[in-house]
């Protein structure tokens, strides 16, 4: 195709308007200006082509050339993704630093997403033989990318035919051809990597119901508002309510095979902190550095705003790629509000008709398209495998007010809401997930699994916890009017138990080495201990023992310390609690029968 060229007509921040560009296509990549800055066509109006530019536009001049490429903005997918830190255009940031020899990022750096020179050990799939029919998604072999990740080399979507040639096991760069597939007269060369447009969801064979929980290591999620593999969840909250800590924690501790952290329009220091801990912390299940199963996309708030959108799309595209290998992948986006604000800014520059609070009318559909890419699926190709993409998106509503457009529109597309509460955060109740407004529509789906590991009691206990907490908030309203002593004894006890649920169970300190990750077993032990305390105390109260007597007991305070210890110690503490609780109860009983 001959180069299609145009000229710059107008420059306004990240928006460049070009004229004279022949038949521009929506979303095609264009090179803007003499430096060839990367942009994307976002609107075409009569003679003018509107381009959002992913790099700083300062210094461009009217009349400079614009070159259309006919390509869609795409991700490179192949060995080398794991452990990378990319910007919104998938440029590896460490590599940028090395090329520029500078601590600052300058525009126009051209660098490949995947290392072209690196040799990977390709292990050929013995099942695949020359002359056989193969199709999209079939596994040709694999590369041990890191000790944790077996990177499956698959036939890219859209390709099928007869295997004409396949490389044996051995060392290859990503650009080496490792198989040739012929379809009639066409020959496809398959390499260790493939290219996929970030705006297009990758295909799969079949979507599955979200029936398996994704264990996160957070008690309030796993045992109260569970998330399923392939689920989609939103985490809205005002500043300082714990969005970032929660999303980082999920990428660290959840039982996903691969975690992708998208830092979209947020802080640089947070990114560096996450990177450091991913290098130093070990995966709970497999005892290797977390970095060996993670990908970072770091487009901080001071980087070009248009690239916020691509960073989110890039993250989910990489996630789908690993899903198609049969992995459970978690993607977190911190924060989707910054992406929405970038849409608003560019829409404003284009003088589009603003919708609510200046956001463009297509905000809702963009969010929908993003969250729709979550799911648990049977991947294309053989051997058959299931994989999942679970999405958590943070939302940063102005003033912490959830009635704004990004929150409201997101709620239409997600299935689990973790609403972070400002009041809880100011009291340092973390994670500040509000038990009154959060929900998970996955409860019914994952019930079977959780009931089984908990001896059939999980759902009953969970619902009791929620009922107690709900009742507590009603009682606290009364207490505010009449004081605590006016309450009936049973309600006073309920307040004690509610406090225990909040502080001993729901709260989890991310910075306490024993508390940051809570196995299901540990969570269930705490749950059981609280229920035991409640049931026994309730019997006493019903038989006339005043609640202040129960408050004076020392053993229940042990439950508050459970979370500070490792599982083995918690088991011991639990036994200790049972023993001393029994003793203390007996002495109360003795007192009351003696009198």
């Amino acid at each position: 195709m001959p180069a299609r060229l145009g000229r710059i007509y107008r420059i306004a921040g990240p928006l460049v308007v070009a004229e004279g560009l022949e038949s521009p296509r929506m979303y095609e990549v264009v090179y803007v200006g003499d430096e060839g800055l990367i942009g994307e066509v976002i609107a075409v109006r009569s003679e003018k082509t509107y381009i959002q530019v992913y790099e700083e536009t300062t210094g461009l001049t009217v009349g400079e050339k614009v070159e259309a490429t006919g390509r869609l903005l795409s991700a490179e997918l192949g060995p080398g993704l794991i452990g990378s830190i990319y910007d919104g255009l998938q440029r590896p940031e460490l590599e940028i630093g090395r090329i520029l020899r500078d601590i600052f990022i300058k525009r126009g750096v051209k660098v490949n997403a995947l290392d072209r020179g690196k040799k990977w050990v390709f292990e050929r799939n013995a099942e695949i033989r020359v002359g056989e029919k193969v199709g999209e998604g079939d596994i040709l072999g694999s590369v041990k990318e890191t000790p944790l990740i077996d990177h499956k080399i698959t036939i890219p979507p859209g390709i099928r035919g007869i295997i004409e040639w396949i490389a044996g096991s051995g060392e290859h760069t990503i650009e080496d051809t490792i198989a040739v597939i012929s379809a009639g007269s066409v020959k496809h060369e398959v390499k260790l990597y493939q290219i996929w447009p970030v705006r297009v969801p990758r295909p799969f064979k079949e979507k599955l119901p979200p029936s398996e929980p994704l264990i996160t290591g957070k008690r309030v999620i796993d045992l109260i508002f569970p998330i399923a593999k392939g689920g989609k969840a939103a985490v809205p909250g005002g500043f300082g309510t714990g969005k970032t800590v929660m999303l980082q924690s999920l990428t660290k501790w959840s039982h996903a095979d691969i975690a992708i952290f998208v830092g979209c329009g947020e802080r640089g220091n947070e990114m560096s902190d996450a990177l450091k801990s991913f290098r130093e912390l070990f995966d709970v299940r497999r005892g290797r550095p977390m970095m060996e199963r993670s990908v970072f996309i770091a487009n901080t708030s001071n980087m070009p705003v248009a690239a916020r959108e691509t960073s989110v799309l890039l993250g989910v595209t990489i996630a789908e790629y690993f899903r198609d290998m049969g992995y459970d992948v978690l993607v977190v986006a911190d924060s989707t509000s910054r992406w929405a604000e970038a849409m608003r800014e560019i829409s404003g520059r284009m003088e589009e008709m603003p919708g609510e609070e200046g956001f463009p009318a297509y905000l809702a559909s963009r969010l929908a398209e993003f969250y729709e890419r979550a799911g648990r699926v049977i991947a294309l190709g053989s051997p058959e495998r299931t994989g999942s993409v679970t999405i958590f998106g943070a939302i940063s509503p102005p003033g912490g007010d959830f009635s704004e457009p990004v929150v409201r529109n997101t709620l239409r597309y997600i299935q689990a809401l973790y609403a972070l509460d400002y009041e809880l955060a100011t009291r340092r109740h973390f994670p500040a997930i509000s038990w009154l407004t959060s929900y998970s529509l996955y409860v019914d789906f994952v019930r079977e699994y959780l009931d089984e590991v908990s001896g059939g009691k999980w759902l009953e206990y969970r619902n009791l916890f929620l009922k107690i907490l709900q009742r507590e908030s009603e009682l606290l309203d009364i207490v505010r009017l009449v004081g605590p002593e006016a309450l009936p004894e049973e309600d006073k006890l309920l307040l004690e138990v509610a406090r225990m649920i909040r502080e001993a169970f729901l709260q989890q300190n991310e910075y306490d080495p024993n508390d940051a990750y809570s196995s299901l077993e540990k969570g269930l032990l705490i749950m059981n201990a609280i229920i035991e305390f409640y049931n026994t105390s309730l019997k006493l109260v019903k038989s006339g023992v005043p609640v202040f007597k129960i408050r004076e007991l020392k053993s229940p305070y042990l439950i508050y310390r459970f979370r500070l210890y490792a599982l083995e110690d918690v088991k011991k503490l639990y036994e200790e609690f049972k023993k001393s609780f029994k003793k203390e109860i007996e002495s109360i009983m003795g007192e009351s029968s003696g009198s």
């Binding site: 007509y9 107008r10 420059i11 306004a12 300062t58 210094g59 461009l60 001049t61 009217v62 009349g63 830190i85 940031e93 940028i96 630093g97 500078d102 601590i103 600052f104 990022i105 300058k106 005002g238 500043f239 300082g240 329009g265 802080r267 640089g268 220091n269 990114m271 902190d273 770091a298 901080t300 708030s301 001071n302 980087m303 604000e341 608003r344 404003g348 603003p354 609070e357 200046g358 102005p398 003033g399 912490g400 007010d401 100011t426 009291r427 340092r428 207490v479 505010r480 004081g483 605590p484 006016a486 502080e503 910075y511 202040f548 408050r551 020392k554 305070y557 508050y560 310390r561 500070l564």
Partner: protein, 467 residues
């Protein structure tokens, strides 16, 4: 003084179509660059401007000064071919400048080491080193509960009449990093403040003998809007220069950022942009972020940029867009409370609304002390309990209180009057601060401390005194 280097391809036009507010509409000359610097000559009075939108026919220019007297046909416009660059030098320490780095202390011009674009460039996120070096400010509530570390951006959210300036100066005076004597500098930027306020800062810095290590930038309320917008960037450009080129630890104080934001709103209105919440432009988050993100540390570099912006919350409202967007960008906030101030507590810090996000990296064994983290958590829990009880006794009186409740009330009072409260010139070491916290814990029932047993045995006064 030359503000910019003259380039050969300077071009000139007299075709000014019109002006509105600080915007001037000029005919687009061939080669005009987006963002480039422009000189407008109004009868010999030269003003600087910048191209903020350019199309085939019209270049919209924002001027750093008033548009007074700009007349189509009379004003000459010169293109400088590059962005605003200001002379920057380590010799600026000890001196006072306006927002465009021109000396206003009567001293000689500074010989620049470099001319720098004040907008700076984004630090490469992958090269950032997480800030983790504990800065002891000697103020218990800060060191104990809102720990500041080198490379952090931590603002003070205040209200008019509250002692934010005193606190900022106490921090500058007392801040030190344990066991280290390293070169540090203070970059002080005052935006739209009164002359008295600016003088207070300079006098304090002089009194503490830090004036030679301080560069001050002052744009009084009467300065042109665009100079107020440039000032924090100019200050930060010097801060970066000192940190990354001269290996210095730079503390940058910017006050009052509310004035900055008001200027931003003014300019946005002049450009007739679609206003965001309460009239502030939708890009205010990004605009503030491009400044505050200049704080940090970098692998392989000795220096650091720490930023402490001060802002007054309009109507003491923390949900107002200025504190709200700031809180979304900065690494925490120190929020001052009018109630505590009325009670006579200095520094009147509301610990519930305040936060230091970088704290966890800066505290703990080898940094502060092994008990710091649990002590911090326990202080919050107990103070929150005490606060809740205060609300209850406000309604039903103290009769219904149990002994336990009374202890928590006593704790809350002691926490405010003994722990938060301290003298403006009083310095407490971190050990003193943590021991003080343990003294307060001895008011509470011991079994209610959610702290690991071995730490209680080591630090609780009950066991301490047995040894």
């Amino acid at each position: 003084m030359r503000v910019v280097e003259v380039k050969l391809y300077t071009r000139i036009t007299r075709q000014v179509y019109g002006a509105r507010g600080s915007l001037v509409f000029v005919k687009t000359l061939p080669g005009v660059r987006y963002g480039e610097l422009v000189e407008l000559d109004v009868d010999g009075d030269v003003r600087l401007g910048q191209v903020v939108d350019v199309s085939q026919d019209v270049a919209v220019t924002q001027i750093f000064g008033s548009s007074l007297g700009i007349t189509p046909g009379k004003t000459t416009v010169k293109l400088r071919g590059e962005r605003l660059r200001l002379p920057i030098s380590i010799d600026m320490l000890g001196r006072i400048f306006n927002g465009l780095a021109q000396p206003i202390d009567g001293g000689p011009p500074v010989i620049p080491e470099d001319y720098m674009d004040i907008h700076g460039e984004p630090l490469n996120p992958a090269l950032r080193e997480p800030p983790s070096e504990f800065i002891e400010t000697g103020i218990s509530v800060v060191d104990g509960m809102l720990t500041l570390v080198r490379g952090q951006k931590l603002p003070i959210f205040s209200g008019s009449g509250l002692p934010h300036n005193k606190i900022a100066m106490q921090i500058v005076r007392q801040a030190r990093v344990k066991g280290k004597e390293e070169s540090f500098a203070v970059v002080f930027g005052a935006i739209g403040v009164t002359f008295e306020e600016a003088m207070y800062f300079l006098n304090e810095l002089r009194k503490m003998g830090a004036i030679d290590r301080t560069a001050a930038f002052i744009a009084p309320a009467s300065a042109p809007t665009v100079e107020k917008l440039a000032l924090p960037r100019t200050a930060l450009t010097l801060a970066e220069h000192l940190a990354w080129k001269h290996n210095m630890h730079v503390l940058t104080i910017l006050t009052d950022m509310t004035n900055y934001c008001e200027s931003l709103r003014e300019i946005s209105a002049a450009r007739e942009e679609v206003p965001g919440r309460r009239g502030y432009p939708g890009y205010m988050y990004t605009d503030l972020a491009t400044m505050y993100e200049r704080a940090g540390r970098v692998y392989g570099k000795k220096g650091s940029v720490t930023i402490m912006p001060i802002l007054t919350m309009p109507d003491d409202d923390i949900t107002h867009p200025i504190p709200d967007l700031t809180g979304y960008i900065t690494e925490g906030q120190i929020v001052l409370s009018r109630d505590l101030w009325r009670k006579g507590i200095y520094p009147p810090v509301d610990v519930f609304l305040s936060l230091s996000r970088m704290m966890k990296e800066g505290i703990g064994p080898g940094k502060t002390r092994e008990d710091h983290h649990p002590v911090f958590g326990q202080l919050y829990r107990a103070y929150a309990d005490g606060q809740r009880l205060r609300e209850i006794i406000a309604i039903v009186g103290t009769e219904s209180l149990t002994e336990r409740d009374k202890k928590y009330l006593e704790f809350a009072d002691a926490f405010e009057t003994k722990f938060i409260n301290q003298g403006e010139y009083e310095r407490r070491t971190i050990e003193e601060t943590l021991d003080l916290a343990w003294d307060l814990f001895s008011i509470l029932p011991e079994e209610e401390l959610a702290i690991r047993e071995e730490l209680i045995k080591k630090y609780h006064p009950k066991y301490r005194s047995q040894k």
